[in-house]
């Protein structure tokens, strides 16, 4: 059983790492700013979510598990809001309102 849990954790964490690297690649390779906003916030939130999911069975105590979930929720909230704010600013810069 514990072997299975370790496998699950390792798989989730590695998938999370993959999405972080994908986010970096998107940030470096994508052609315009709005696509880069897109790539980064999506990939990062997914990556962190997978890592939090993978670590959930490993932490001891309900308090720490709850903190993991709260951290992921906060990054999700912060990341999506930040993406909206930055995208709005980029659009204002590109075609300023009359």
């Amino acid at each position: 059983m514990s072997m299975l849990i370790s496998l699950f954790s390792a798989a989730c964490v590695l998938a999370g790492v993959f999405f972080f690297i994908a986010g970096t690649l998107g940030l470096l390779r994508f052609g315009d700013t709005l696509s880069r906003v897109h790539a980064l916030t999506k990939a990062d939130n997914l990556g962190l979510g997978l890592i939090a999911l993978g670590l959930l069975p490993l932490v001891d105590g309900i308090a720490d598990a709850l903190k993991l979930v709260v951290i992921w929720a906060l990054v999700f909230l912060g990341g999506t809001t930040a993406a909206q704010l930055v995208a709005l600013a980029v659009r204002r810069e590109q075609d300023p309102p009359p």
């Binding site: 709260v70 809001t81 704010l85 709005l88």
Partner: protein, 312 residues
Amino acid sequence: MTALLLDLPLALGLFGAGAATLLARSLFGAVLGFISTGLIATLVWVRLEAPDVALTEAVIGAAATSVIILYVASRIGNRATPPAPPPIAQRVLAGILSALLAVLLAHALFSLPEPAPSLAAPVLDNIAPTGLGNPVTAVLMAHRAIDTLLESAVLVFAVFAIWSMAPERRWGRAPGPAFMAEAHGPLAFLAKVLPPIGIVIGVYIAWVGADAPGGKFQGGAVLAAMWVLPWIAGLVAPPSISDMRLRLAIAAGPLVFLMVGLMGFAVAEGFLAYPPGYAKTLILLIETAMTLSVAAAMACMIAGPPERRARP
């Protein structure tokens, strides 16, 4: 092996981000370089097993300072004229002096005796009378309380300095400029959802400081961020700088600290000494007042001097 894999990129990254900050050609690039340096420094403190410092760096470096310089840089960005570069002789001299300082520091570091002198053991031996579980808090609040008292007063003076930049006709108004209100934008959404969670976390961080990494500065700074957010979103207006409650909140921490310290003459062995058995209670009292003061003072620092006009 994996540890080296972690530490080497962090060390190089810290150097790189620092160099990028200094060499950046645009003001905004330098600001973001500085913010990145702070984030890497947070992780470096973690690797040096100093989670208390890492927490401070995260909340002061990554939040408060970043917000202030990023906001100021984008506000003066288009108006600022870059200063003329200093003469070559001055730059060479500065380079030589910096290199000399670096050599001296390296020399001091490498000539440390083995094992390095440390007061860690006496601190751990004397932690029991304070009733605290976190040795860092024991040092800050009991063994070196005088330093912490002086630091807490610095916050009040910093607010003085910022408010004194207000133009005469704006005196008595609320700190900072007026911000546009937008009922349904993403910023308003964040300003409505985040503070209830953030206030709980801020109080938690201040509270666990007695026994785990955390404390008044870190918790207070988190609370300040949560207080400022609805101001920036234009949802609520901050109190006037003439409001006695705001002024009292800013001064409460140093005042309580000083009063407890003076009380030490009467009931304990002297200034800033705690009577046996009451150390933890008094320390928690000071920490509570200080958390309030740090929150109020840092909120005023982020908002800046009063710029608002009277209500239309």
